[in-house]
């Protein structure tokens, strides 16, 4: 049977009538879990609403989605799960028409569809709540909800009707929002609910929710759950992403797990435990790509942060870095780790707390000052924050340490050339020359330039935020070795990376963060992925 748009809820559709065809799946010699290939309803094979066949998408330097296929069925909540950067959002954006796949097919009700722009997908009954807010802060809630699908009366927008319908929608789904309110002035959680309402307003057959709960409070998550349940009963399909494990189990019927852009498999959630999911997500063998760790313990402390807080994202964070040690942060996306690094680097202001370098307290509130005091920072977004893409490799490498090589404001070219040459050699940056525009380098080498920029200033402490994002294994390995060498040379290293294996393989000590606070600290043998996950999900 095919469910058509607009057909009402079919309660109990799946009650007992379904039979699962289980296909055993071997996973790197670990526990076998059950994968599903199709739902079978009453002996009859149910037709999928949405089929993704061999979908592929590359960005410069990243194979974001690598030939992924899966199917979604009516009346189910289909969860996508995977580490940060696994390619979940990219798949969903291709479904919503924001990105176009390089190859592969999207089929709706068995028909192949091509979305050139989001409007095409909307016309086919697909609505998406994006991971990044798309609310327009200057418009009212009603105006936002009906953006680009405005109700018109005699060619003119009917604001009154839109307000009425917004109220109606809100009541229908139990979302309390004032349709008149200016969206930008609402609290973040309410804005997210508006975002959800906006997607619901088009009465989609397929609703895509990309981490909708990351900004919601518990009660609102429950409201969303009720909404999703209602839609499910109406036979709609929901695609859902959340990094919160309990929500995966609460919301989901089926789960597709991805890793590094590749499909791991599609499973029935009730057959999996949370450990299974984590293992499938992380599932990567530790290879000998990490340099050996520090042997000695209790070396002298070089850097200490006490009770650091900022305006809202970081709360009372304290840690210290010892000589020769690599300190790692492990956290899920958006737990304040980036803000912590930026605050320590002076890019953000701190509101409370003390920072000591070599036992001496430092006072600074700007990146400029922090740099002078010997705190280097490598931002996670090399294109947005790290590099000036229009400048050359050399100019970028020299940028942060310019003041070291100048006479009365004039740059000493010879000294500069020497430092640039040193950095290119030391970091093994593959560039035909220092004059090459940094935009023309491969991602990995761009990242090395971004790190080299900080190193050229000879920092005493180096803060690394996602230093290996979007670069290949070989380049990664080089960066690991570099980090280890720097640590040996006495530079204090604090690193955050969303790649679990990386934190594990690289760090001598790890602290986990959740909602802006430190939730645990692990060192030596304690460093192990399940323990980390527990800390990162605040389940410890």
């Amino acid at each position: 049977m095919v469910l058509r748009p607009g057909v009402g809820g079919i309660p109990g559709l799946f009650d007992g009538a379904q039979k699962k065809v289980a296909v055993p799946l071997k996973f790197r010699g670990r526990k076998a879990v059950v994968g599903l290939h199709a739902w079978v309803l009453g002996g009859e094979k149910m037709k999928p609403v949405l089929e993704i066949k061999d979908l592929d998408k590359k960005f410069v330097g990243v194979h974001a989605v690598d030939h992924v296929s899966f199917q979604c069925y009516p009346g189910t909540v289909h969860v996508l799960q995977g580490e940060n950067g696994a390619g979940k959002s990219t798949i969903l954006k291709m479904l919503s028409g924001l990105y176009q796949p390089d190859s592969g097919e999207i089929c709706l009700h068995g028909r192949k569809v091509t979305f050139r722009q989001p409007r095409d997908a909307q016309e086919q009954g697909i609505a998406m709540v994006y991971q990044e807010m798309t609310i327009l802060p200057e418009l009212t809630v009603a105006q936002n909800v009906f953006l680009n699908k405005e109700v018109r009366k005699r060619k003119l927008l009917d604001e009154r009707e839109m307000i009425r319908r917004t109220k109606e929608l809100g009541e229908k789904y139990g979302i309390e929002v004032d349709p008149y309110a200016t969206a930008g002035e609402l609290p973040i959680a309410a804005q997210s609910m508006v975002e959800i309402l906006k997607a619901l307003a088009s009465e989609p057959d397929i609703l895509i929710l990309d981490e909708p709960t990351s900004t919601l409070t518990k009660t609102e998550v429950q409201k969303l759950y009720a909404i999703v349940q209602g839609l499910k009963e109406m036979g709609k399909t929901i695609l859902f992403i959340s990094h919160r494990m309990e929500e995966v189990f609460q919301f989901g019927d089926r789960i597709t797990i991805m890793k590094d852009g590749k499909l791991v498999g599609t499973y029935e959630i009730s057959k999996l435990s949370s450990d299974d999911i984590i293992r499938l997500m992380v599932g990567r063998d530790l290879q000998d790509i990490f340099p050996p760790k520090l042997r000695e313990k209790n070396s002298e402390e070089i850097f200490r942060v006490e009770e650091l807080s900022d305006a809202g994202c970081v709360h009372n964070v304290s840690f210290s870095i010892r000589k020769g040690e690599v300190l790692g942060i492990a956290a899920l996306d958006g737990q304040g780790q980036t803000e912590l690094l930026r605050t320590v680097a002076g890019v953000r202001r701190h509101t409370a707390g003390k920072i000591f370098l070599g036992g001496k307290e430092l006072r600074y509130q700007t990146a400029k000052k922090a740099l002078r005091l010997g705190i280097g920072y490598v931002p996670e977004d090399r294109k947005g924050q790290g590099l000036c893409l229009s400048l050359s490799v050399g100019e970028n490498l020299a940028l942060a340490s310019m003041r070291r090589r100048q006479t009365a404001g004039v740059i000493r070219r010879k000294a500069e050339r020497e430092v640039i040459q040193k950095m290119i050699t030391q970091l093994n940056i593959k560039t035909p020359s220092a004059a090459q525009a940094v935009a023309n380098l491969s991602g990995g080498n761009q990242q090395k330039v971004s790190i080299g920029k900080s190193l050229a200033d000879e920092p005493k402490v180096l803060l690394l935020n996602e230093p290996t994002r979007g670069i290949d294994v070989e380049a990664k390995q080089e960066i690991y070795r570099l980090i280890r060498r720097l640590a040996k040379e006495g530079v204090g290293i604090l690193i955050y990376t969303s790649d679990m294996m990386e934190v594990i393989g690289l760090s001598d000590r790890i602290f986990t963060m959740y909602e802006g606070r430190i939730t645990g600290e692990l060192s030596g043998e304690e460093i192990e992925e399940e323990a980390i996950m527990r800390g990162a999900m605040n389940m410890a």
Partner: protein
Amino acid sequence: MEKAGILHSKHDRLLLFKRKSEVIFVYIFLVIFFIAAMLLSDRFMTERNLRNLIISNIGLLFVAYGQLFIVLLGGVDLSVGSVISLTNVICVTMITENPSTWFLAFIASLAAGAGVGLVNGLLVVRGRLQPIIATLATQTFFAGVALYIMPGPEGILPSELCKFITKGWNYLFPLFLTLIVSTVVWLLLNRSRFGRAVLAVGGNEQSAKSSGISVGTVKIKSFIFTSLMAVMAGLFISAYATSGSPLIGEAYSQRSITAAVVGGAALAGGKGSVVGCIAAAGILGIVNNLLNLRGVSSYYQYVLQGVILILALAISAVRTNKK
């Protein structure tokens, strides 16, 4: 339910005030200037003077409406001045006493305006140029075209036509025209999908795109609309001047930006107001008028315009920063 209703409407009014406060500021300004003008010149409040004040600023208002849309998109359109000149030159060249030529000239002007707008839009969207740079090029180019058609001031427009447009129906026609145009522009910005799309694109291009809005099309349409408003302004200004001059529009690029910005169009796009434009054009007009009435030299007009602009910007900036 009843209670909630009351609550809402009260809340509504408060919100309305908060949201429109930029515009309200402009009107407070307007009132201050109005009162100052009344106090400084006893002739200011005469019917005749107010009438003149209005008629001589209608052209500015129209082109400010057009400029508003580009300012909302986060850019500026420098080519409106050339479009006004072009319109004037086309009209004076084509129009004779024969009313059929009036219609032809009108169509030709609109076509020329739409052409300039299209070129601007394509340069910005396909050429990925900043609006200011793209329109700087077209401004220069079309100023040359206007000068090519008419190298110096010459020609006149039929007196009865001009009189009708600027004074018809006992001075009610220009008011009526302004009302119609203002209403249409207001509806376009606030009650049409196009206007909503302009606000969305100006507010956040990415969000607009993911909401299914064709960003490029919206931009091109906006540039065409702006040029068409400049044509409207050019027609009115021509009727007011009654004669041809290839440089007649020159000053309007800058003045229209001033008016749109003073009128409360946020400088980074996505916010702005038709109602605010009216007050802004009014303020600029009153300053001009008052200085004339008091016989003050024209350079004070520059200085004062600069001061008003800086002040308006400062207030807007302070308010934005507070948030």
